[in-house]
């Protein structure tokens, strides 16, 4: 009979090996799926995992991995702090939207002035916008005890309507012939979050994501707040005895995650996306939740998980374009990858043992 025995300590070896095993298992089952759909499985797998990194056009795709991965990592880092403390911000997507709106609004307000201080102001506005949006569930939870999952999720839909309204009204490009969408910030130098080195994909959002990873790592390992966060998540009662004030922790965790999501939105709208439009948000805020957990809420893990997600997105698009695979097949493939990563994580914390059934 197979039994699971909890390891006294998580296995270092398995925690390294499980992601690899998971990717291999996904390749196997994903390959089967692609085969059923009439595509050469080996070719499909190669296209998804190899092409973006080492293929003919990797000079283009590698920077794109940064562009795609940065917002995921930035948001996920913020979320992971709250998740560790049992504070569930599910509404990062909304904070991302609002950060983009407030940041872009500041930039557009200055148009067409060119000045060095515009972009820093936009960054501050973006962070504040996301922070403020996250403060709504935080405040309601602290003051009335409402559930932050529900409120933050509802606020995503409110933010989406707000985004549409802004794209059609206040922030609409006055020279856009009545079409929805703001001016393109890529064409407004002072507000443009351009690549720091041309075609490297390294825009300020990528830098911010890397800083956030380091910041979170230091916070969690060296700082009192990090200790309080971990303690609250692992032993809420003990945390109270240790003098952790839950209200303060809620405000801080939601605030930080909101600000980081807002930043991600600002860097996206002023850089790769360029403009505020009805469909500006593409689900980074939700995907980041998965990234946070795939990275086991650990800053370095999140960095790797964000990169892996970005790889499957970009590789998936290439597979669609080159091999004619439907988008749905790529989605299923991504789902499989997540399943295997999650399921095999078991081996890190548990040992599988074969034992005779105990005699009753």
């Amino acid at each position: 009979m197979i039994r699971l025995e909890k390891r006294p300590q998580p296995s270092q070896r398995w925690s390294m090996a499980t992601p690899l095993v998971a990717v291999l298992a996904t390749m196997l089952f994903g390959g089967l799926l692609f085969g059923v759909l009439g595509t050469n499985p080996l070719l499909a797998i190669e296209t998804i995992f190899w092409e973006p990194l080492f293929g003919e056009f990797s000079f283009y795709y590698r920077p794109q991995l940064l562009v795609k991965g940065a917002p995921l990592v930035l948001i996920a880092i913020g979320l992971s702090l709250g998740f560790r403390a049992g504070i569930w911000n599910i509404g990062a997507e909304g904070q991302y939207i609002i950060g983009a709106l407030t940041g872009a609004a500041v930039g557009l307000a200055f148009y067409p002035v060119e000045a060095w201080y515009i972009f820093p102001l936009m960054v501050i506005a973006g962070a504040l916008g996301g922070w403020a949006w996250a403060m709504i569930p935080a405040f309601l939870k602290v003051r009335f005890g409402t559930n932050e999952i529900l409120v933050s999720l509802m606020l995503v839909y409110v933010a989406e309507q707000f985004l549409a309204s802004m794209s059609l009204g206040l922030l609409k490009n006055p020279e856009g012939f009545g079409f929805p969408g703001s001016r393109n910030l890529q064409q407004y130098e002072s507000a443009h979050n351009a690549d720091l080195i041309a075609n490297s994909g390294m825009h300020w959002g990528v830098v911010a994501a890397l800083i956030a990873v380091i910041f979170a790592y230091v916070l969690l390992n060296r700082h009192m707040l990090g200790f309080q966060i971990r303690l609250t998540g692992e032993a809420p009662r003990a945390a109270r005895f240790a003098g952790v004030r839950p209200a303060r922790l809620i405000l801080l965790c939601l605030g930080i995650s909101g600000a980081l999501a807002g930043l991600a939105g600002l860097f996206e709208v002023s850089g790769p996306a360029g403009q505020v439009s009805i469909d500006f948000n593409v689900g980074y805020g939700f995907t980041a939740i998965i990234v946070a957990f795939l990275g086991r809420l650990h800053p370095v893990g999140i960095l790797l998980a964000g990169g892996l997600m970005a790889l499957t997105y970009i590789g998936g698009e290439i597979a669609q374009g080159q091999l004619g695979l439907p988008a749905a097949a790529i989605q299923v493939f991504q789902g499989m990858l997540l399943f295997f990563l999650l399921a095999l994580d078991l081996l890190t914390n548990y040992r599988v043992a074969w034992r005779k059934p105990e005699v009753a």
Partner: protein, 306 residues
Amino acid sequence: MDLSAINPVLLIASLMVAATPLLLAAIGELVVEKAGVLNLGVEGMMITGAISGFAISVETGSPWLGFLAAAVGGAVLSLLFVVLTQLALANQVASGLSLTLFGLGLSSLMGQSYVGIKPPQMADVHIPVLSDLPVLGPILFSHDPMLYLGVGIIAAVWALLKFTRVGLILRAVGENHDAAHALGYKVVRIRVLAILFGGACAGLGGAYISLIRVPQWTEGMTAGVGWIALALVVFASWKPWRVLLGAYLFGGVTVVQLNLQAAGVAIPVEYLAMSPYLVTILVLVILSADKSSAPASLGRIFHASH
């Protein structure tokens, strides 16, 4: 502005229809959460149910078989969640989100040959005399059978949780799985059954959209109802009848805002479109006086060794 154009009787009748998918999915999730499991994959199970139900009812010509298939489809998908969270002890939040991603992809693969087809219709019930009553007839006695089934499931879950031993065990497992285990209850088995029930209900909710409310198959057609259903469970403080109330409230605000638009009320449309979500938050704040909280073991991983 012409508010007299709004017919309250028809409004109530249509909000009941609008609320039913939400209600079905939410009552399933309620049972899951009562057992201490948080499954964020409702959207994925709904859309899988939507296509399973659609495909089977088109192939067989029977909406009833379609709904049966939807329940089975939703439950089968939730089996993946079972494997992940109950056998592999994976994190429930991440597993649920992945389940949604997987379900959305899987459903579009399944549905590729069902675009642009009209499914067989399920006739509304018509009870002589009762259905013809003024006001009460259209509101209470002239809907499709699934709507009544939804209300029936709510009542059944309520009765189950409140009066039966099974309900007691379910709640015990959700409140403190270690204690329940110590008392000899099969924690994992009970949770697996709850998750399957949740999947089946979500599947029914999805099929209600693809077979009755719309009725049509298009990719991603559940358009976020699964997320609202999740929110609804929290909103309802894990009480079955409040799920009904919440679903009607949410469906109601949506239908009312459309009604106000059509009547030409001079409130900016985008704020009307936000209103269902804002009202939900508002009501939540008002209800916050009620301190009944989540099942204590919600989202926690259970392993018998400790």
